[in-house]
């Protein structure tokens, strides 16, 4: 097979690229399918990540303790303040701090109402603030009823784009002053996140018997995490999850309770279908139109192995170029859309790049093998039959 193979591959590529309509049809078909698949997968993964972001934004907390009924981070079931002290008393706990998370309605001085996610962070350690601008935010939040705002979504509160710092607003008739900004990871709820000290947050929200949404804690060095979780649960009756477990629970909640997987799954399936249909049909048409030429090549002495490599080369070339264009399109879409609130935090993951490459390769190789069967079976004497 080796002798003359590279020359015959060159013949094959010239055969394909000279047929501009089919060549471009294949390239753009695969590019479109790749774009559809990878763009939809990226958005899907990005949306799932949004479900985990409330947890991922709290980098200092190794473990989250919560009411056993809680399924995801935006669904806090308040527990008794006493639980915080009981958790702290468990052997192996290095520290434990309160964390408040709830939705609230913020009213601007102009009277405009905006739903926000109000987060109350520990008064002393400020654990719970995002990492961005942490030093300044930590200082800015210390004053009474001081509030830090996620600047990414501040436009949802003040659509005119004004600087939030210095603005005054009300939550439940309590005056709050915006003293700083931070950058929070986008959450699935899509509301602007505002931060206050824990005591301020629970003071301005409607009275309830319990207001402690979560307890954030860390283990002492050398402590077995699983054993610590079990000890805390045994002592307090709370559910304890690691940061990763709770983040995964956030994404799982979206998978289990929304139509997003079905919607995106359909789009991705359609992308695969488009790729298969376009590639298989166009390659089949190309081979059908060149059947006599392939027959002539076989008569001249080109082996079935060489024909197979020729067709695979054609398929892989259009697959490679089409895939490159498609991935490039997705990368451009995500890059240029990075500032859009609807796409914030979305990225083209290496796994998506890798698996989509495998998928496209499988589609083009499969299509090529299906299409070439007729040529391989063909008797070379067919060229003499008029």
């Amino acid at each position: 097979m080796g002798k003359g193979l590279f020359g015959m591959i060159a013949v094959a590529l010239k055969m394909l690229m000279g047929d501009r309509v089919k060549y471009l049809g294949l390239v753009f078909g695969i590019a479109f399918a790749t774009l559809l698949m990878t763009q939809q997968m990226s958005i899907f993964v990005g949306l799932l990540t949004w479900g985990a972001n409330p947890v991922l934004d709290v980098r200092q907390a190794q473990l989250w303790a919560m009411d056993p009924r809680v399924d995801q981070p935006d669904e806090g079931q308040p527990v008794s303040d006493a639980m915080l002290y009981r958790v702290r008393s468990v052997d192996g706990v290095a520290w434990a701090v309160p964390y408040f998370r709830s939705t609230a309605t913020l009213k601007t001085v102009e009277g405009q109402l905006a739903a926000v996610t109000l987060v109350g962070v520990d008064n002393q350690s400020m654990i719970g603030l995002p990492a961005d601008n942490l030093a300044e935010a930590t200082q800015a939040i210390r004053g009474r009823n001081a509030m830090i705002v996620d600047r990414n979504n501040a436009y949802l509160i003040w659509p005119d784009g004004r600087d939030p710092v210095g603005q005054v607003a009300e939550i439940n008739d309590n005056r709050v002053t915006i003293t700083g900004t931070t950058s929070a990871l986008t959450t699935f709820a899509g509301l602007p996140t505002v931060y206050m000290k824990f005591t301020d947050a629970i003071a301005i929200t409607p009275p309830e018997r319990n207001k402690l949404s979560f307890i954030l804690l860390s283990a002492k060095p050398g402590t077995n995490i699983e054993e610590l979780k079990a000890r805390i649960s045994q002592t307090t009756g709370l559910k304890v999850l690691t940061r990763d477990e709770f983040a995964a629970a956030g994404t799982q909640f979206i998978i289990d309770n929304t139509g997003i997987p079905a919607s995106f799954g359909t789009a991705i399936f359609l992308g695969v279908l488009v790729a298969i249909v376009i590639t298989a049909l166009t390659l089949a048409m190309f081979i059908q139109e060149n059947l006599k030429n392939f027959g002539a090549l076989k008569a001249i002495g080109v082996t079935n192995s060489q024909i197979l490599v020729m067709v695979l080369s054609q398929a892989l070339l259009v697959g490679f170029i089409g895939y490159g264009l498609g991935i490039g399109g997705t990368a451009a879409f995500l890059t240029f859309g990075a500032d859009s609130p609807g796409l914030r935090g979305f990225s083209l993951l290496g796994e998506i790049v890798g698996w989509s490459a495998v998928g496209v390769a499988a589609i083009v190789v499969g299509s090529a093998l299906l299409s070439v069967r007729r040529v391989l079976r063909m008797d070379p004497a067919i060229v003499f039959r008029g």
């Binding site: 013949v11 079935n304 192995s305 008797d379 003499f384």
Partner: protein, 252 residues
């Protein structure tokens, strides 16, 4: 991959010929007692009934006869693109019917040149690239192969057409490119299936002139299947067939 390819190899009925065939190595091609049957529903249709034929070197042999008499089938068998149901087919004294598939393909690539009725030039390759295909398939580097085919084209009166695509050439010019393709690797046997059928009289004469020159080489034979009686004068030998047999009085 080998298993996959084996699945798609044309079924070859390789019944060993019972008689002790006397293959003459002095002939470019030879057929002895060639029988060919094709499936026809539940029966088998016999299109060649034990045909003998000899194709000497240095001659242009024409295989003529009415449509459906088996000329093209015999040509396919002698060129190693079709396996006979029975009988012996040999080229350069080597029995094609005893060769394995890969051996046969390699043999065709090296020693046989093909000219088809419809030229079968690849539309997206230039004339010189088309003519270079047998050389490329034989492992000659691309530039060398195209250079060689270009020079041959110039010798055969196609200077200035080497870089053109087939659609930019007339039918006669395309067939001449096909002749260059058939001769580029200097085969011992050139087989032509109705080479003038798609050409006007003038172009047909020009093409036959080239084939006649090619046949003048004592290391080569040209076998032409045709029923175009305008080109009979170019033949050194004419072998007539009727109903799958050699016509009465026709030499093998």
């Amino acid at each position: 991959m080998r298993a996959l390819l084996d699945r798609f190899r044309p079924a070859r009925t390789r019944r060993s010929h019972q008689m002790e065939a006397q293959v003459n190595p002095a002939l470019a091609a030879q057929g002895i007692g060639i029988v060919m049957e094709f499936p026809n529903g539940n029966e088998r249709l016999r299109v060649l009934h034990g045909v003998d034929i000899e194709v000497p070197y240095g001659q242009l042999t024409m295989l003529v006869g009415p449509s459906g008499c088996g000329k093209t089938t015999l040509l396919s068998i002698l060129s190693g693109t079709l396996s006979a149901t029975d009988g012996v087919a040999a080229v350069m004294g080597q029995r094609l019917d005893l060769m394995g598939d890969n051996q046969l393909v390699t043999f065709r690539r090296r020693y046989i040149g093909f000219i088809f009725q419809q030229y079968n030039l690849i539309p997206t390759l230039t004339a010189a690239e088309n003519a270079a295909i047998p050389l490329i398939a034989n492992g000659t580097p691309w530039e060398d192969a195209v250079g060689r085919s270009s020079r041959l084209m110039e010798q055969l009166g196609l200077a200035g057409h080497t870089g053109k695509l087939p659609r930019q050439l007339s039918g006669g010019q395309q067939q001449r490119v096909a002749i260059v393709r058939a001769l580029a690797h200097e085969p011992a046997l050139v087989v032509c299936d109705e080479p003038t059928a798609a050409l006007d009289a003038e172009a047909g004469q020009a093409v036959m002139g080239l084939l006649d020159e090619a046949a003048a080489d004592s290391r080569r034979a040209v076998l032409v299947v045709t029923h175009d009686d305008r080109i009979f004068p170019f033949a050194d030998r004419i072998v007539r067939m009727e109903d799958g047999r050699m016509a009465a009085g026709s030499q093998p």
